[in-house]
Symmetry: C2
Subunit: 346 residues, 2 copies
Amino acid sequence: MSSAGKGNIPKERVTIREIAAEARVSIATVSRVLNHPEQVSDTTRKAVEAVIERNHFVMDGMATALASKRSRTIGLIIPTITNSIYASSTQAIQKAAQEQGYSVLLGVSEFSAREEAALVRRLLERRVEGLILTGAERPERIYETLERNRVPFILAWQPSGHPERPSVAFDNYQAARLAMRHLIQLGHRRIGLICGRTTANDRALARRQAYEAEMTALGVPRREWLVFERDFEFIEGRTAMHRMLDARFRPTAVFCANDIQAIGALAECRDRDLAVPDEISIVGFDDLPISQYLSPQLTSIRVPASQMGFLAAEKLIAWIEGKVMPESEILPVTLIRRGTSGPPAK
Amino acid sequence: MSSAGKGNIPKERVTIREIAAEARVSIATVSRVLNHPEQVSDTTRKAVEAVIERNHFVMDGMATALASKRSRTIGLIIPTITNSIYASSTQAIQKAAQEQGYSVLLGVSEFSAREEAALVRRLLERRVEGLILTGAERPERIYETLERNRVPFILAWQPSGHPERPSVAFDNYQAARLAMRHLIQLGHRRIGLICGRTTANDRALARRQAYEAEMTALGVPRREWLVFERDFEFIEGRTAMHRMLDARFRPTAVFCANDIQAIGALAECRDRDLAVPDEISIVGFDDLPISQYLSPQLTSIRVPASQMGFLAAEKLIAWIEGKVMPESEILPVTLIRRGTSGPPAK
DNA sequence: ATCCGAACTGAAAACGGTTTCAGTTTTGAG
DNA sequence: CTCAAAACTGAAACCGTTTTCAGTTCGGAT
């Protein structure tokens, strides 16, 4: 009478040893059936597989990871998951990782440097074999920890500018210039900016700097009532636009450095019966899928979020397995001209 | 001269043994400093902590998990991460887990039962201490594996209806009826349906069934050209609406069983210069944050995605730590009446 | 000084696998 | 049939922690 029949449920978790005993082989053989089935004779393999199946046996990945020194997990730290631009990048990373047999351990930092540091530590403890980080700017201490622990990492969303720190990104500064140039070419001079908080967020900072550089180049004096730095929420875009429209000199165009805020801003214009783009132009950034379902459709900068995620994951895994640091890569962005941008009113 | 000075980087990862050696204590003491600092004298503790700090030492969570039989990880399987309704639920789960010192291992099933089964296995291998699953309907085999491995799990998004399988959910059937009743009370009788694929998706199925039940109760014969079952994409909602409007008898209202498709449908109406709600009413489902930034604002069913996620995580962790299965819970939903629903045209 | 309990520390046995190395079978050619 | 090579299998040494149990040290009361 064998110890584990079809019906009864073992109190303790079944281990490779029970399987070995029941199949009358050594644990080494069971391990091989699971990892290198070609090294085991057909007869033995089938027998062992049957026992495994019958007992619903699932290997202990912790023990495996410990013994093999491979966790087959990569870490991903992003500021938020609710912004669909990060969601799609995350999805792509998941997919790339899955394809290569890796899992993704996700950390959400909520735009906090402290939280990010804590997450890096947590993920290191979980023995991720590599890490994808959002943005390039962070306390040096974090990079030190990473290097001391010899964990490969890739920076995404912002070029790294450091030869030892590969990145897969697009150039936020140039991309924001693209948006600004578009408005300037249409004839706008008084241009407002609504952007995300620039603390612990080098992407938002780069975009803001591009705005300021273009305005300076235009010879337009800096007007504090034209610049709003807010959280990434629809409502923040809306209230920023609200205040901008109440200012002494309304801008003829507003560059929203992300689509979330742009959508809020657009709603505010609609509520005020302000014609877009005839009375005011809006250019967004991110080109969220939703943006072309708005009315009017949003002019925006399309960023390669999925592609970036996919590439980052692939390069990271190549690095992990090939031990050779990948090249950084800068991905192109495009201005998608749609219905919210036009020449200024006379 | 100590073995690991400030500057040099050890080739191999530093373990608790090196720390113990350098601090001239046993590994047991180092372990205690890390896990039960109150059991160690101040002098010893400080000394050990200094060595840990100096070496950027990070514990091996795999070894910890193996030895302590606690992974402090829970698994979450959702169909997609790009739909912001799942993203916000995921965010809430992350937060609840984090607060209690757990990590979340995320699996994206892409609405595939096969993929879900594979993910359950993967997560079990990763020794998640509990699991949150989306929906209640799946092959019995999966539940067996879960039970055999004694892994607590909570079902979310759809009531379980099984006493041994706790769920934190809202009632999709009743929620969909709420939407239908709203339209019926406004005077609509010829109502269309656009919903998600109902294979391997009991939520979508429940919503569709509610639609059909209400239509039957209304005595309206079933019209196949009024029902569209499509993928969860804006464009699918749009093309479904397109075809519905080309049908022999246009509906006076359309129930979209999710906001994504509703947004697509709304865009189609706008492109055709069809007045909403004067010529056609639309009711959505999910009440995405974006839905009130549309024009007109979308009438929708608000579902407690975050609350549900948070509660599910809390209950799961309570179960893990208290060993006692929690009660199922049904959360209320609300109809948010906004601008896309009104009485039918005369 | 002496003694006692409390506080602290260390040795060693798990935890559940992988992997090396050496034996034991098979296989196939001569 | 013989024998070497190839294919297969098992014993045992890890992997880096936690935790129990027993020993040691310390502080304070006598």
